[in-house]
């Protein structure tokens, strides 16, 4: 990873990767949407609402993946002072929040016809709502201090403390009696879903994941350029202050 620790090298790699990533993402979305909205059958119990699962589950996976990435980046920023780690955490946070919102809203829309309610305070839903607030807190803390580095460090600590919520989300359906159904893909004994429904699910999951990397790279580049502008401005102000100070002394 330290090969890419250098911002210049990272930008070169990102530039080479970006066109390929964008093309693959578009193709993956087209394939995913075709399978999810046309090719796959209706469920024998849920009817056509099963199609909501093809965005709800990939969005929820991505929301948790993005938080994992932020937690790992925060740890490497605090422990090894990896120069790109804070940048990655800052860039991933709003995207993770967005996908958490997709999972929450699509889940609610599915819940109304299937459970009879938009929302229940069961362990899975509540821990997932907490994930959304953790994302908001992380984004707010980065901006909360005049000293940017201080904000990044404080946000990194929040991200690490909040990582305890990830196993809670994953195992909430096993530890407590929840209205939310238990795991049907990542479980011992293999997936319990038919392959005609697994292929749209995985296609959309791949599309979401690729999209996340496209947006992450673009946002990381933007954060690096903004930081460069800030340091240029800071140096200029310091030089101005030094020269006016010198004139006064004369």
């Amino acid at each position: 990873m330290h090969r890419f620790a250098n911002p210049g090298r990272f930008l070169r790699m990102a530039d080479r990767l970006q066109p390929w990533l964008i093309t693959t993402t578009i193709l993956a979305f087209l394939a995913g949407l075709y399978l999810a909205l046309w090719q796959s059958p209706a469920d024998y119990q849920q009817g056509e609402t099963v199609r909501i699962m093809y965005i709800h589950v990939p969005a929820a996976w991505l929301a948790m993946f993005a938080y994992c990435l932020i937690a790992v980046a925060s740890a490497s920023a605090l422990i090894w002072r990896h120069p790109l780690a804070h940048v990655a955490a800052e860039a991933a946070s709003p995207v993770g929040a967005g996908f958490t919102l997709i999972a929450l809203v699509s889940g609610s829309l599915w819940g109304r016809p299937m459970w009879g309610v938009y929302w229940v305070w069961d362990a899975r839903l509540t821990s997932f709502l907490l994930l959304f607030f953790l994302y908001l807190g992380h984004m707010a803390l980065i901006q909360a201090f005049d000293d940017r580095q201080r904000g990044q460090r404080t946000a990194a600590i929040l991200a690490l403390v909040g990582a305890i919520n990830l196993p809670v989300i994953k195992f909430s359906v096993d530890w407590w009696n929840t209205l939310h159904q238990p795991a049907s893909i990542l479980r011992s004994g293999g997936p319990s879903i038919d392959s005609s429904m697994l292929s749209p699910l995985f296609s959309m999951a791949i599309a979401f994941q690729l999209f996340f990397f496209v947006v992450l790279l673009a946002r990381m580049k933007a954060v690096l350029l903004e930081a460069r502008s800030q340091s240029l401005l800071f140096n200029r102000l310091r030089m101005q202050a030094a020269s006016t100070g010198g004139k006064r002394a004369n």
Binding site: G8, R51, F99, V105, L109, V215, A218, A222, L225, R236
Partner: protein, 85 residues
């Protein structure tokens, strides 16, 4: 099956389509916002550099992205020389 039947989604149109709508909206917002933020950051950096060097900033924003990238690269080359790597 007619287009109308398809759009009705077996009576669950009011659940399925808003769910996809939210997902598409969110994806579009992030794609556009990230692209705009990148272009703005690149243009801002280039403007600052141009002011510093007494040059006229370019009017084409695409070149601003490329130039700021070049700047970071040349900065890297300089730091490589300093560290002897």
């Amino acid at each position: 099956m007619t287009v109308r039947d398809y759009l009705m989604m077996g009576g669950y149109a009011d659940a399925v389509w808003p769910a996809y709508g939210v997902a598409v909206l969110m994806v579009a917002v992030f794609a556009v916002d990230s692209w705009r933020r990148l272009r703005r950051a690149a243009a801002h950096l280039h403007r600052l550099e141009a002011e510093g060097a007494g040059q006229t900033p370019p009017h084409r924003r695409r070149t601003a992205v490329a130039r700021s990238r070049d700047h970071l690269r040349s900065g890297q080359a300089a730091s490589d020389q300093r560290t002897g790597s």
